[in-house]
Assembly symmetry: C2
Homo-oligomer: 451 residues x 2
């Protein structure tokens, strides 16, 4: 099943655009126009001549152009009628935002809708969904105004979600934290386009490097397993409805019964899935996966200018099953010679609180050359007096010269944010807390260790 026309249609009709700019259909229409989508966009409203300053068509049948994609946000009692019209118009791709089907107990309406789309050979995303964003052509069917939810920059993360609300908040945070998006798909009840179809599409999509997925229940377990096996990209999965009791709320939410947690975990472990336990995990793990950081060995060398952060980092290293690397004799000799006597030449390597940029340069350079470790975990307390902004350039230069990954942790607020943003802009991952960094390193390590 090709989903190409959902993401790259030449023309779009929005059904349910109203004169009231706050209505869902109007917000969708405005978002598509405002996001720079270059195809033709048509507004459909049987009761108006003009909406939002555009001509309104009484139905899709009144439009002369060929329509690749219809986005439907009419009330649920009208959906069968307008889908029939889409069928007559030979529209093969429909996104249905309208809710009020199986998720609220109206199974009959959902069944009638299914029959209607089957009869007309329509592929339908939804109902009860937010639809899609293709960040590479400005197609944006979300009914959330951009002032309330900033859209992210272009990038390689694609996001697939059963829950629209979940998707919208993640999108909001992805954008605020400067992650970069490729595609967004909220598929809702997944009537005849499900999570596996979407995965298969993203598997071939060149603009997608990583998939993030929020899933409650799965329509077809075998198909999903195969899709996860076939996709050669990391798929970060957050499973909602882990327990029987909370599965009840899943049922009423998108109308599919959540499977048993253990079964899912077992399946995920055999595939390219990366299990996340929380929303926090998603954002932490993405920091490394997005930048294509590969950690292939488990020996970690910590560098720090704060003893306490070194200790907490060591704890996290051991708790996550990594090893504290040993410095080579050569490294020790260099470091002992060049660093002040108050420094601790070990693991953690503590360059102490009065460290300046050049002391970090020496420490990082020496540890990058050392063959006894696989990755550097560099704590920088940027509040200390002697560090400057130039540290960003120093680390960037060293990072570019070496294939060994550098993961930075810099704990602090506004002033520290300067360092964090500066490093992230140069694709050097920088975390707020050591624990989150090491947990993400573990996820990346487990994904790439057999590469």
């Amino acid at each position: 099943m090709s989903l190409e026309k959902f993401f790259n249609p030449h023309s779009v009709a929005v059904l349910g655009v109203s004169r009231n700019p706050e209505k869902i259909g109007s917000v969708i229409f405005k978002n598509i126009i405002d996001s720079g989508y270059k195809g033709k966009v048509f507004a459909v409203n049987p009761n108006e001549e003009f909406v939002m300053g555009y001509k309104a068509y009484s139905s899709v049948l009144a439009i002369k152009d060929k329509i690749d994609l219809a986005v439907i946000s009419v009330p649920s009692e009208l959906v069968i009628k307008v889908v029939e019209e889409c069928g007559k118009k030979k529209i093969k791709n429909v996104i249905m935002v309208t809710a009020g089907f199986k998720e609220v107990g109206d199974i009959k309406l959902e069944e009638r809708l299914l029959k209607t789309i089957q009869k007309n050979k329509i592929k339908l995303i939804g109902p009860n969904c937010l639809g899609v964003i293709n960040n590479y052509n400005g197609l944006d069917t979300l009914f959330i105004p951009i002032y309330r939810l900033k859209r992210p920059d272009k990038g390689n993360i694609s996001f697939v979600t059963q829950s629209g609300a979940f998707g919208s908040t993640v999108l909001d945070l992805i954008s605020a934290e400067n992650y970069r998006l490729s595609k967004f798909i909220s598929y809702g009840n997944g009537l005849n386009v499900d999570e596996s179809d979407v995965l298969n599409y993203l598997s071939k999509d060149k603009e997608t490097g990583i998939v993030v997925m929020y899933v409650e229940g799965v329509k077809d377990g075998k198909k999903f397993f195969k899709a996860l096996m076939d996709i050669k990209k990391p798929v970060l999965i957050l499973k909602g409805g882990k327990f029987e009791k909370s599965s009840k709320s899943t049922l009423s939410h998108t109308g599919s019964l959540a499977g048993i947690n253990e079964v899912y975990e077992g399946i995920f472990k055999q595939t390219n899935a990366v299990i996340t336990e929380s929303m926090q995990d998603i954002f932490d793990f993405l920091k490394l996966f997005e930048k294509n950081i590969k950690i292939k060995g488990g020996r970690i060398q910590i560098i720090t200018n704060g003893g306490g952060h070194g200790v907490i980092s060591s704890d996290a290293v051991i708790e996550n099953g990594f090893k504290l690397a040993e410095l080579s004799r050569t490294s020790k000799a260099i470091l002992k010679k060049e660093l002040p006597s108050i420094a601790t030449v070990s693991n953690p390597l503590d360059v102490v609180g009065d460290a300046d940029d050049s002391r970090y340069e020496l420490a990082i350079e020496t540890c990058l050359k050392d063959r006894g470790n696989d990755v550097l975990l560099v704590n920088i307390l940027y509040q200390t007096p002697k560090l400057t902004k130039n540290l960003i350039n120093i680390i960037n230069k060293l990072n570019n010269k070496s294939s060994k990954p550098i993961v930075v942790v810099s704990t602090g607020a506004n002033f520290t944010e300067e360092l964090r943003r500066g490093l992230e802009d140069k694709d050097i991952p920088c975390f707020q807390f050591p624990g989150n960094a090491v947990r993400a390193m573990k996820a990346v390590h487990d994904y790439y260790k057999n590469d």
Copy 2:
């Protein structure tokens, strides 16, 4: 041992103030002056007549006034001499910022220092520490400039840390996230003022409501256990150096061998300690403890306008050993009558994506009156079109009328921040992610359940 004069001295001498404003002694001197401390402050420098625009005294002996507190940041080779002078001057309280003692292997110097202070009956915080902040009188001996590390507003959180660096980053984040501080104490090597002495002082301090503590090793286990038993306030503890391997770095850091993790955990569980596993935990738990939120029962009612967030919240509730509450028949009748048919009247109670302020008001009010639950977990996706800023006032009004705690989760970036800050300003806790909220609720529940 009274530590009163460390926090409320009438006069302070800073030893090691230089003409160079970037030197540690100079930064400390400037911070005390700039923070609005009302007592007398003297600069000591044997080589200068004036420093930073103030008269410099050649030693503490040259000062005529009585000195309550000396802050020492001279090089380690000079510390014995200046402490002897403090003794002659009858200064009984000394903070020593200077490093270079046991933590770098110079046990002899540390022993000489100990003998010197014992002989002169001096109480010493440090060496190798940041010293103290009393946020109620502007005493601030930190050598980190305020532009690099903003100081928090006045409040009821006191923070005790072995590691200065750790303390400074937490302080930075406490300030940025609008938590409010009472006292800050970085005690470093803890020569003759240790963690237990500080706890005993804070136990009686009326301006302290909660203590946050970062501890690697403990000098005297029995004394610490007694201090933790005696203090009738929550003490959030993060233990650094949990494992033997990472304990090695603890040794070189503040010179005390970290104890075995299990022993600590066992002790903590018998006292008023609240164990935190990470820096993230500290900030999450503080949100509830600072606002004196007490959760005495385990039945949680979830309200949400996003199905996915409801499901994730349910998962977190069950994972943390809480129960999903049942709505009473009366509540169900009211909600079914007043809410649109698309809403889910259950737990989670889903008021769905087009909910406006009044729908939340109805849901929260009904659940607050329902005796079948102990606490409300309210998810608000503020990106949805119909919610306004007035929701803050509505929740505040309902919160003030009820003794049942309300914990809000609102996931999102800039626009959502408006809601989060608004609620937090009214002392209603508001989290970014459901998982963090429920974990914090668990910590508070376990602390207060036997109250």
